[in-house]
């Protein structure tokens, strides 16, 4: 008898519970929630990896964002800015779960982040369906502003096309007529080298061979021997993080630097890996959209502020975080801090235009992708340490969107 009574009470209890609160049934049957979202605060959901292989990139993006919001005192007009961080790990499914939490539970007004392109693709439908403005601050997969374009997704970082394409023509004229390509075997590596190949061969260059070591490959000796014996004047490489450290070091150790110039994307010799490479990176030419060595007033101020706050040099990810924060702030300022209407927010983002530490940036309203300068940089030895130097600027590079 007791149990039957308990069951009846359970039913009553559940029925009462379901009558109040915002249950799933209610929120899915209602169309728009209107102003119930934020009161006096603007909630920004930040989805970045705090653990796993990309943790250090996530950390720098966070630092950059916080640096900018510090500078405006975490306020836009009368509204307070609140960031809600979630760890995307390196797992798209976990990231999607976290994105749902930010959107459904925390009711963020704007979403930003994602280092991994797979994560960005994974949450793409969710933000599109729920009309959450999503500013991509790192993930560079081409399709995000092409076939997977959404009204609510804007990208302030880069596309793999921009990275690869920018060096193609320049390399043909200044490096050599024959090229070997070595890139990490994952979607991004393939896209970057594809874009480079296109531009390089269009200029008249010849690709002698290609090799795609797996992501996280530990020993490049076999590939290097193959490359060494190929008849190419130079090598275009795409590697990042620990792969970049190992590849550049081993490239030097196996004596390839003497007869084949190494060129590639900026991550090959970026701020965060150069120190670990020793002097191996010296002489490398790469293309990227920002570098520590850019000599503009905006960049000087950014570097100074960053070094003062964190006592270390900013990395390119710090810059990405900084710019993403600034874009969000500038867009919302034009709306007086009212982030309740996602359509107005994305409209405001599309009109943002300012001079960033990386040079002037604005958005392509067609593709939703950032239009920015690309820099060709060379790694040199300065006072016993490697430093990059900008040797050429390619202005206003626009992703073709196709």
């Amino acid at each position: 008898m007791k149990r039957k009574l308990f069951l009846i009470m359970l039913v009553v209890f559940l029925a009462v519970l379901s009558a109040c609160g915002n249950s799933a049934i209610q929120s899915t049957s209602k169309k728009e929630e209107g102003g119930s979202k934020s009161g006096g605060t603007i909630k920004i959901g930040v989805l970045l990896p705090d653990s796993g292989v990309y943790a250090s990139l996530g950390k720098h993006l966070h630092k950059g964002m916080e640096l900018y919001f510090d500078s405006i005192d975490w306020k836009i007009g009368s509204k307070k800015i609140e960031i809600i961080k979630e760890d995307s790990e390196a797992d798209p499914q976990v990231a999607l779960r976290k994105a749902r939490k930010l959107i459904d539970q925390d009711k963020v007004d704007i979403l930003t982040g994602t280092v991994s392109t797979a994560v960005a693709y994974a949450i793409r439908d969710e933000v599109d369906k729920k009309k959450i403005p999503f500013l991509v601050s790192h993930a560079g997969g081409n399709d995000l502003t092409r076939s997977k374009r959404s009204d609510y997704i804007w990208r302030s970082s880069f596309s793999s096309w921009q990275i690869g394409n920018s060096l193609g023509e320049w390399a043909f004229h200044n490096v050599g007529k024959t090229m070997y390509i070595a890139a990490a075997d994952y979607a991004f590596g393939r896209e970057v080298s594809e874009a480079f190949k296109e531009a390089y061969t269009a200029a008249g260059g010849k690709i002698v061979g290609e090799v795609y070591p797996p992501l996280g490959n530990n020993d490049y000796s076999s590939y290097l021997t193959t490359i060494k014996n190929a008849k190419a004047e130079a090598v275009y490489a795409f590697f990042a993080g620990s792969d970049a450290v190992r590849f550049v070091q081993q490239y030097d150790q196996f004596g390839l630097k003497e007869d084949k110039k190494l060129i590639g994307s900026g991550w090959l010799v970026s701020e965060d890996v150069r120190k670990s490479q020793g002097n191996a990176g010296v002489g490398t030419i790469s293309s990227i959209f920002w570098d520590y060595s850019i000599k503009t007033e905006e960049n000087r101020q950014f570097k100074e502020a960053f070094e003062k706050k964190y006592n270390e040099r900013p990395t390119i990810e710090a810059l990405e975080g900084y710019d993403a924060a600034k874009i969000i702030a500038e867009a919302l300022t034009t709306l007086d801090g009212d982030a309740s209407d996602p359509d107005k927010v994305v409209e405001a983002i599309s009109n943002v235009e300012f001079i960033s530490p990386r040079g002037p940036i604005k958005f392509d309203k067609e593709t939703h992708h950032v239009i920015q300068n690309m820099y060709i940089i060379e790694t040199k030895l300065v006072n016993g340490q490697t430093e990059n130097e900008v040797i050429e600027i390619i202005e206003e590079v626009r992703d073709p969107g196709k």
Binding site: L7, L14, G21, A24, D87, D104, T117, A118
Partner: protein
């Protein structure tokens, strides 16, 4: 009404009312737990009932998931089509792999399943044109049954709940059936089973295929749920985490893997919002369970229940405790 039936009805009722109580986020979380619970239940047939510890179960999850994703994109998002195609693909894959794996046992079985799953992983990772490579496949249309669209999370939840109940019920029938008892016998002493006249290799293969097939179903549901699949769900770490779910929950019991899945998903979701050290926390909890509660959450629960229920005489406890611990589901 016995104790067990009562608990069952209460649990099912709670699940049925979930959409009325939980907010959307928690409802999605419950959906995800149910899908991963199906995955863990499938592995449990191998690990818990047949005694074959596999470190490659994500392979079948992946086969099912990619099968669903490709079919939904290229042919039709019809739910039954994707579900049964995934089931069939996973059954075929597990039958082929199983033929080799069931010939070895113990550590060798662990390593051989790992080897096969890593081969499938590298295939998925490499075949960019079919599987989207490292970026995975996204924008997969939500499942349809006739003209009914399951993009609404509440409908989808009920669909998953129904499937979960069917699979849970089906599996508990199987493990208590004469066939299931053969599997338990193999776990306990394969030599003896052979000398009783059982073709144990065939039974192990059957268990492998059931596990693989249901793993594929779980993968298919996961794809439908998230509209997305990527190679990280086929990687060995996925196999490792589902194994942890089974072991923490309580292997060789029906409810254990479900509790394990819930525990890990909730832990990972909640804890990682506060600290980046969630791996350490899972690691420590895992170690504690291995040392103190080798029978998982289920074993812990039974211990607690026994120490609470004062009606039991002391002698009955001491006599029955180990009984319950070592023989969780076998007797019922």
């Amino acid at each position: 009404m016995n104790k067990k039936g009562f608990a069952l009805i209460a649990a099912v009722m709670l699940l049925i009312f979930s959409p009325f109580i939980f907010s959307l986020f928690y409802l999605n979380l419950v959906t995800e737990i149910l899908i991963l619970a199906i995955f863990a239940l499938s592995l449990n047939i191998l690990v818990g009932y047949t005694g074959l510890v596999s470190l490659g179960h994500a392979a079948f999850f992946g086969v099912g998931a990619y099968m669903s994703a490709i079919l939904a994109r290229e042919i039709s998002p019809n739910f039954f089509l994707t579900l049964f195609a995934s089931l069939a693909a996973a059954i075929i894959a597990s039958a082929i792999i199983g033929i080799f794996c069931v010939k070895v046992s113990g550590f060798y079985f662990l390593m051989l399943t790992l080897a096969f799953s890593q081969m499938i992983y590298s295939f998925v990772h490499q075949s960019t044109t079919i599987t989207g490579g490292s970026n995975g496949l996204s924008g997969i249309p939500s499942p349809l049954i006739g003209s009914l669209d399951f993009s609404n999370p509440v409908y989808f939840y009920y669909l998953i709940l129904l499937l979960f109940i069917l699979i849970y019920g089906g599996l508990s029938l199987i493990v208590h059936s004469p066939f299931g008892q053969v599997l338990i016998g193999i776990r306990e002493n394969e030599t003896r089973l052979k000398s009783m006249g059982y073709h144990t290799t065939l039974y192990k293969l059957a268990a492998f295929v059931i596990a693989g097939g249901l793993g594929g179903v779980a993968g298919s549901l996961y794809t439908s749920f998230n509209s997305f699949i990527s190679p990280s769900d086929v990687y060995w770490t996925m196999s490792g985490s589902v194994l942890i779910m089974v072991l923490i929950g309580g292997s060789g019991t029906m409810i254990g893997p479900v509790l394990g899945a819930a525990f890990i998903v909730i832990l990972e979701t909640i804890v990682s919002s506060y600290t980046t050290m969630w791996m350490m926390i899972i690691g420590i909890i895992f170690i504690l369970f291995v040392v103190f509660f080798p029978k998982g959450i289920v074993g812990l629960g039974k211990l607690l229940l026994q120490s609470f229920s004062k009606s039991n005489k002391l002698s009955a406890i001491s006599g029955k405790k180990s009984n319950a611990l070592y023989n969780n589901d076998v007797k019922n």
